[in-house]
């Protein structure tokens, strides 16, 4: 029995349109034009308890819409959606009591309240038994290193600090499903690593289902075995990232530091991407020639100081994927 069941989910918006400028403003007072936008169209997928899924797609593709529907604050135009047997927007209070949500750009804590008071208020909102709350809270504070932040009002925290508090806040009531919407946006490198590490452990050790929306592909690489790509309101891919990559950009890269000046490489299975002084970057299709084979051939023919293999940049893969599916930013 899957934890999340989404079937043919669709969402259409009507947006008022107005001509620009002053005349447009005046006309807008008397006559409104409407434009329909299909934010989601026939989206279907399932998730089991304990999965960690990355939800990616260009801006405006429908990721936020999907998250909002799954969390219960938005009603779809048609389709079916069940989380733990509940329909999110219909059984709202019961549903939201069981999930945790982190939105990267906004906080659910209260600006003027010290963090710890915000936590206590959440304890009461979610009706967490006090002893369980104390244990969970202490554990989260230790894990996210929040001790020094607890007595500061949220508005005084830096973005990284706020995000750590935000994640802790979302977990105080021990939900078994959490939504992370752009959790690492704007964070510095150490904070990003901390968040990734924490989320990964949460999923592995506690079996918490995680749905992660992000533009940062390194988040995906670090955490998500399964990736759902949404573009133009439709699902473009649903599977492992490796499969996605293989389908889009099969080639890998070989970086060679030659002992002397980089020689000409003229092999049929290989494309020279760049050559500069002693360094050469080669692209090759591992289905036609394996990495060990290629390395052996180059090293046999020329003296080499260093050599390493890389996958193409994830961003390249994704950008290519969007391109292929005509799913660029809408």
């Amino acid at each position: 029995m899957p934890q999340i069941l989404v079937e043919e989910l669709s969402k259409t918006y009507r947006i008022a349109e107005r001509d620009p400028g002053a005349m447009g403003a005046v006309k807008g007072l008397f006559h409104r034009r409407w434009r329909t936008v299909e934010a989601l169209s026939g989206v279907s997928f399932q998730m089991d308890q304990g999965e960690l899924v990355g939800l990616i797609g260009p801006n405006g593709a429908g990721k936020s819409t999907t998250i909002k529907i799954l969390s219960g604050i938005l009603e779809p135009t048609s389709g079916r959606c069940e989380v733990d047997g509940l329909t999110p927007w219909r059984e709202r209070i019961r549903h939201v009591a069981r999930i945790g949500v982190v939105f990267g750009q906004r906080t659910q804590l209260w600006w003027d309240l010290p963090v710890i008071e915000g936590f206590d208020l959440l304890r009461d909102i979610y009706r967490v038994p006090p002893d369980r709350y104390a244990a969970t809270r202490d554990e989260l504070v230790a894990l996210m290193r929040l001790e020094k932040l607890l007595n500061q009002p949220v508005r005084q925290l830096s973005l990284g600090q706020r995000m750590r508090c935000e994640i802790a806040a979302a977990l105080l009531h021990e939900p078994q499903l959490i939504f992370l919407d752009e959790p690492t946006i704007g964070l510095d490198a150490p904070s990003k690593l901390a968040v990734r590490e924490f989320v990964g452990r949460l999923n592995r050790e506690r079996g918490v289902t995680v749905i992660l929306t992000t533009h940062d592909m390194h988040d995906i690489e670090a955490l998500a075995e399964r990736v759902i790509v949404i573009g133009g309101g439709r699902i473009l891919a649903d599977g492992s990232f490796a499969a996605l990559r293989a389908g889009v950009l099969a080639e890998r890269r070989l970086f060679v530091d030659f002992a002397g000046n980089a020689p000409e490489i003229d092999l049929p299975e290989v494309r020279v991407v760049a050559r500069d002084g002693r360094q050469t970057e080669l692209a090759f299709d591992p289905r036609r020639i394996t990495a060990p084979d290629l390395i052996a051939r180059i090293v046999a023919a020329h003296p080499v100081d260093d050599i390493h293999v890389e996958e193409p940049l994830i961003e390249e893969v994704i950008a290519r994927f969007y391109d292929l599916h005509g799913a660029g930013e809408s």
Partner: protein, 277 residues
Amino acid sequence: MTLDAALRPYLSVFSGRFQLMLQYRAAAVAGFITQCWFGVIRILIFAAFYAGGAAHAPMSLANAVTYTWLGQAFLAFLPWNPDPDVADMVRSGAVAYERLRPVDTYAWWYARALGWSLARVAPRAVLMVAFASVLLPLIGLGKWGLPPPPSLDAGGLFALSAVGMVLLSAAITLMLNTVVVATMTDKGAGPLAAALVNTLSGMVLPLAFFPDWLRPWLRAQPIAGLVDIPFSIYFGGLAGWSAAGAIALQFGWVVILALVGRVWLGRSMRRLQVQGG
């Protein structure tokens, strides 16, 4: 779920809000000073009117002065604006996220409004009473001050009516919140609501001063319960059974406004759920 557990979120947000607002001491003092000024203007104007001949006055100058000071003390209960947090949410497009909390949105906002209004009134009321009931008599201006209620009955009935005032204020604030949500602008009906509330409650002018043929209507409408009813009970203008009847009317309006507000908010939130907020 036990009653205690069911109420936990609401009690918590009430006390949280209350404590938070109490921190704004500077604002309370500033508000107190402002209100003293407005009280003085009103009283001077009353005095000038009465000096020209009080034959047709519906209450004594002393009672008018009492009413004015009470009005200033409890001014912060007047529901002029929607809850600023709600206005903020609408402005930033985040109202829908309020639905991520596992609470009944109306009750949640109601508890918050109660905390907000009580915390704003408490310090100002204390200061105003200290000023008008204690300080003014001390410097020999007792005639222009705020006397205590004339009898224990009046005091008790006033306390009851004051509870009605608080509950009514929160119910109207929730209506204002709903207007903001329903129109999706953070401006809502603000200024108009404030004007109607000011006048119909009796804050601008005690309802008794309005032409006699208007009085039954003015006394019956819901907003009279915010100012005119409790204060008239205080100085004995409404006493005994008519006071009791007025209190019943106050509470009756609270129930009606709460029910209507709840349904309306539910509808507006539902529409947001569909539209996307």
